[in-house]
Symmetry: C2
Subunit: 414 residues, 2 copies
Amino acid sequence: MNIINSLAKTKKAARTLAVTPTAVKNKVLARLADLILKNKALIIKENSKDLANARKNGLSEALIDRLTLNEKRIADMASSVKEVIKLNDPIGTVLSSWIRPMGIKIQKVRVPLGVICMIYESRPNVTVDSASLCLKSGNAIILRGGKEAINSNKLLAKLISQALSSAGLSKDTVWFVDSTDRKIVYDLVKMDKFIDLLIPRGSEEMISEIRKQSTIPVLSHGKGLCTTYIDKSANVPMAVNITFNAKVQRPGVCNATETLLVHKDVAHKVLPVLAEKLSQADVEIRGCTKTTAIIKGIKKATTPDWDTEFHDLILAVKVVNSVDEAIAHINTHSSGHSETIITQNKTTAEKFLKEIDSSAVFHNASTRLHDGSVFGFGSELGISTQKIHARGTMGMNELTSTKYVVRGTGQIRK
Amino acid sequence: MNIINSLAKTKKAARTLAVTPTAVKNKVLARLADLILKNKALIIKENSKDLANARKNGLSEALIDRLTLNEKRIADMASSVKEVIKLNDPIGTVLSSWIRPMGIKIQKVRVPLGVICMIYESRPNVTVDSASLCLKSGNAIILRGGKEAINSNKLLAKLISQALSSAGLSKDTVWFVDSTDRKIVYDLVKMDKFIDLLIPRGSEEMISEIRKQSTIPVLSHGKGLCTTYIDKSANVPMAVNITFNAKVQRPGVCNATETLLVHKDVAHKVLPVLAEKLSQADVEIRGCTKTTAIIKGIKKATTPDWDTEFHDLILAVKVVNSVDEAIAHINTHSSGHSETIITQNKTTAEKFLKEIDSSAVFHNASTRLHDGSVFGFGSELGISTQKIHARGTMGMNELTSTKYVVRGTGQIRK
């Protein structure tokens, strides 16, 4: 497979897409949503081949579920494409503009990155989600899905290609890598001359392996060891409600709370009520010595528990002496994802919001709220815990760069 | 040398500096400017040791000049620290804020990156320049200067340390690596657990080697193969004036023009006048076939000339048939640094500004104007040609990240 040839074609298509008007990009997306709905039966048929292979290869039920496309999921896929149509086109936005004494007018303008390569596993809807966000933000795309979903992905890529053609855009704008050879992934991640950004979506192992191998900048979803801190001035029912939500509402996701810190002055009031409520939801509490003295019959927390993302109905609980101790604990043990303080004291809240070094910090709200759709960004590409380029929930703006546009009347350097 | 111990101390100091008020940071800088001026004689004495070693080791006169600190340069160093005091503190700036239907108030706030490691060569003023920009933007710093400047740098680092102490800040906020062992550089660039950003400043070879070795994100000055395009609707005297400035005013720097493209309809008018003026400044012209037919007695351009950053009084000149050919040439051969179009036709200018994929694009102005001080950013850390995190001239904003600050009244995820 001649990847250089395909890469060169994608890079060329990227320059055209970069200056394609919003209306044309939206036309592609509208056509794609349409094609997805019209080809429901065919999508289910191709998907059933993947599902049959998955069963033959003994994939787990969880993976088979992620792989499955049914009528509802296909409709959702089309809806999310329509959502992207509604989002503002970030390209061409003037982020700032000013005039210098010599008379030149400077603008800082949002532009596409160029070519984005998505490397992902199982879920075939990622093919459509990623393609629509990249297209709307003016970026050409290389799609490399997992071999489990190859039949579903091939068909979806064909529909994307048809949608591009119907609006007069080159099919090269989206290159679906129609090969399941793993070697291609390791070739792609070195192609920094053609690819501007890599977005791996999948297991932690896969992402970390790609980061290690890649010579291209990588944007990826980060690990979430999130913390809820109940201050001495907390409203107790609110504290119980938020902590319960942050732990129980969806324990397997990155913004679920894994560690609870409770100020010693409020621990006796809040912990028994909370323990009662959590036990009804089958949450296992692992407590520090002070916690085990208050809540009877629970496990003692071990040292590694303070650094563990349980992804499960398990909560590590520690009683602290002050907000400073809470902040120090979080800045040492959390993964810098999302942390919240529950307090009625504004000064304490502001101190926490300022001193915690995480991608999102909350006051009197659940860590579960750190999410692109909750924040109003429409679709999201995950939540970044890195500090360079993109931090926190990532949407289309994170798929862009900027350039300076300078208009003069003959100015030179003196 | 126990670098882990020093790194841990720097990281700890970074958390304190991150929440240090602007007034305290400015106090450190004012004290530093003061100490530099007061210790002029001592600085010259330490610098003379470096100069003596440089002569003993047979360093080139150009390198010795870069290494030299005299009264004037020391005064300039102090002035540039005072300039940083005047710049706005980026930390805490609210970049955007909005309220969601559920009632949470979201802010996107500028925060420091954390720990920045500068790896640089010869010029000792980089020690002071970098430290002031990093400090003002709330970042702790690791300084690793070249062995040629070790005596000068040691003293300057001692003054920085005194300035920190005088304002009550920890000396660990700036760690000057007091060893010229090269191995330490290769250890440092792998310390992604402690360092948030690497900024190498020096030769292209050094920067490329660091990029290859590093597991930490790297921000660096990019290569500049800049282009001036004279359109058919150009004002000829303006075109001659800008091209001359872009090539001759300081040919050794990154934003000097290396390639001139001229529209065929104006080539006969502009090239003879320009050639005459350039020859007076000893500029060597290397032309395409059409150019050599117009300007007699010049060299013919070779294929590599279109991809060469001459850094010298040499200009490659090509006659093109259209603005589209000019844009295609630039997007293929330029390094994506700075390009300009000279034209009186606004439509052509806007097309060029939109379709050129470079960090700065100019209309009727010299490429030499792409510069932090010209743009009004005060000091700069070079010009980036990468698209991730920072593109174009880099100042303090590029030393920051963001975080989401969310204020609620008990909101949970439904």
